[in-house]
């Protein structure tokens, strides 16, 4: 009896430790970022690091201003969302309410399947096929620029945004729609005046999660954004978002150099931006769950 009890207790603690591992890894990531990133602030102040407009890590003395990199990330991500959110949301509405059930059963798994296309594939397409098209279309010296990154990131985010907002739309209780239809509204009026307002916080979660994922996306921006650490003054210019900077420069730096620490410093900024998005998304999820009642 007591041996069995001991075994049960042992297993319980073993499982508990496994569950705790995510928290430990998350804490480990924060610890590592700070340990390896903070030393950069003996070369540059926090304010200069975040608001400096010059990123010349190879100069003597080097300049570690990451404002161009932060701005590039924000501009490219915003552009991607401008493309992906309306198209994704419209597609989700069509799948959720208009598509006949038979087709819906085919289109939903296809969307899921398309969400699994690796980002390096989008990068390859943007580099080899979209870039020449953009170059010729707008008469540019090169097709590697912020616009290319926005388009490719936007396309890449579409399946995720569709899935998440479709889930939010279908989580709205059926009686909402039926009541609206019974009062004589058209299907579109029921969707636009009842369902979308009820699903709004769920849709917000979808958009913010998409945003967080897009700002952390590395391969696409590394391959198509052009890689010039300048302020993103127009969308036809080459830019270098934060993720691309880390990925491109980590291989060319020596461990322990100020440049190495500065790349971890960028990692800190990136981590906290995505953390912020997660917290906001979490807030909207809880709001949505309390609104539609039940789980989503």
């Amino acid at each position: 009896m007591s041996k069995g009890y001991l075994k049960e207790q042992f297993i319980k603690y073993l499982l508990f430790f496994c569950a705790l591992s995510s928290v430990l890894f998350l804490a480990g990531i924060i610890w590592v970022l700070f340990r390896e990133g903070l030393p950069v602030f003996s070369h540059v102040s926090l304010l200069e690091f975040i608001s400096g407009r010059d990123w010349y890590p190879y100069w003597h003395p080097p300049d570690f201003g990451i404002l161009p990199l932060i701005s590039a990330s924000l501009v490219v991500t915003t552009g991607a969302m401008v493309i992906a959110v309306p198209i994704g949301l419209f597609s989700a509405i069509f799948i959720a309410f208009i598509l006949p059930l038979k087709l819906k059963k085919i289109v939903k798994p296809i969307t899921e399947l398309l969400a699994s296309i690796p980002s390096v594939i989008f990068g390859l397409f943007g580099m080899q096929i979209l870039a020449p098209v953009l170059r010729d279309l707008f008469n540019l010296p090169s097709g590697f620029n912020a616009l290319n990154a926005m388009i490719m990131l936007g396309i890449m985010a579409l399946p995720t945004i569709i899935s998440l907002s479709e889930d939010a739309l279908t989580a709205v209780p059926e009686p909402y729609r039926e009541a609206s239809l019974a009062l004589g509204s058209t299907r579109w009026e029921a969707i636009s005046k009842v369902i979308i307002p009820a699903a709004l916080s769920g849709i917000a979660t979808a958009v913010i999660l998409g945003l967080g994922r897009a700002i952390g996306e590395t391969m696409v921006v590394l391959m198509v954004a052009g890689g010039a650490a300048v302020m993103p003054t127009d969308i036809f210019r080459a830019v270098k978002p934060m993720t691309a900077t880390i990925a491109a420069e980590m291989g060319e730096t020596s461990v322990g150099s100020p440049h190495y620490h500065s790349l971890f410093g960028i990692g800190i900024v990136l981590f906290f931006i995505t953390l912020l998005f997660n917290i906001i998304a979490d807030y909207f999820t809880q709001k949505f769950q309390s609104m539609v009642g039940g789980e989503s």
């Binding site: 890894f25 289109v107 390096v120 580099m127 058209t186 590395t218 993720t243």
Partner: protein, 281 residues
């Protein structure tokens, strides 16, 4: 009345066009990749080592490297993720501590992949001195998919009816016996599906292995888990962005992309079909 239904027709057409545009664009991308890459693929391309500075020969080392990395990641992450999910669904009660774990899982899922790469570099490559290797890359990739595995396994466990558990407990089984003999077998198809989806995701990840596992060019196959490897997604990136002779490198990159896409789509399709099959039965 007419205006209202006209408005509905217009709006619904716009939504339909949006969906067509989405699916059309994504399929167009797949079409272009296959069109440029399919011609490169031959038996030699799949089974031979690269020659002449990656300008000729095949992609076998990258294929093998990817298989090792994916297997390593799953071997590390699947037991950890499934057991974590078991704790969260079967043992945990609502408490601040459990909420902390859930916050941990959610936020780990949102960490950008390149930040995992930084973590892997600092901890596995440098601190634990595993070097740029299969081991470092696998562990890093394992952490990347851990939250996805936990969530998906949790869903599978929650779908097991509560009556299964109470029947087993009523027969005198202990909690762990119930989990081992009743709950996990019932949730197995779902757990398997989540692991397969994890494999599909990890096979295409590039940023986490950029500074933890990969090398651009090696003719030989890895001999131990401490060797650095070539990997399919990294090879695509390296060939198109660092290649010195694009006229040879780019076709090989497209060929590699076709192989990667084929594998990833096949794995995911398998998982989706498996889920549909078990839902029916």
């Amino acid at each position: 009345m007419k205006i209202r239904s006209l408005r509905q027709i217009i709006m619904f057409s716009i939504f339909g066009l949006a969906l067509l545009l989405t699916l059309g664009t994504l399929f167009l991308i797949l079409f272009f990749i296959f069109q440029r890459g399919l011609g490169v693929i031959s038996w030699e391309f799949l089974t031979a080592a690269p020659r002449d500075g990656m300008t000729a020969g095949g992609i076998f080392p990258a294929l093998v490297g990817s298989v090792y990395l994916v297997l390593g990641a799953i071997l590390f992450s699947a037991p950890l993720g499934v057991l974590a999910a078991v704790f969260l669904t079967e043992y945990a009660r609502q408490s601040t501590f459990i909420r902390l774990i859930r916050i941990g899982v959610n936020n780990l899922a949102g960490v950008p992949s390149v930040v995992f790469g930084l973590f892997g570099l600092a901890v596995f490559v440098k601190y634990l001195n595993f070097g740029v290797s299969i081991l470092s890359g696998s562990l890093t990739l394992g952490i990347v998919i851990l939250p996805t595995l936990i969530r998906a396994s949790e869903e599978a466990l929650l779908a097991v009816p509560a009556s299964y558990r109470s029947s087993s407990l009523a027969l005198g089984a202990t909690r762990w016996q119930t989990i081992k003999k009743v709950v996990i077998p019932a949730a197995f198809p779902g757990i398997l599906t989540s692991c397969i989806l994890g494999v599909g995701r990890v096979a295409g990840e590039t940023a986490p292995i950029l500074f933890t596992a990969t090398t651009f060019f090696t003719r030989r196959l890895p001999g131990s888990i401490f060797d650095e490897v070539m990997a399919l997604p990294y090879q695509i990136y390296a060939l198109v962005s660092g290649g010195t002779s694009p006229e040879h490198h780019i076709p090989i990159a497209f060929g590699t992309a076709v192989v990667l896409l084929f594998l990833v789509l096949l794995i995911n399709l398998g998982a989706i079909l498996l889920r549909l099959y078990y839902r029916k039965s």
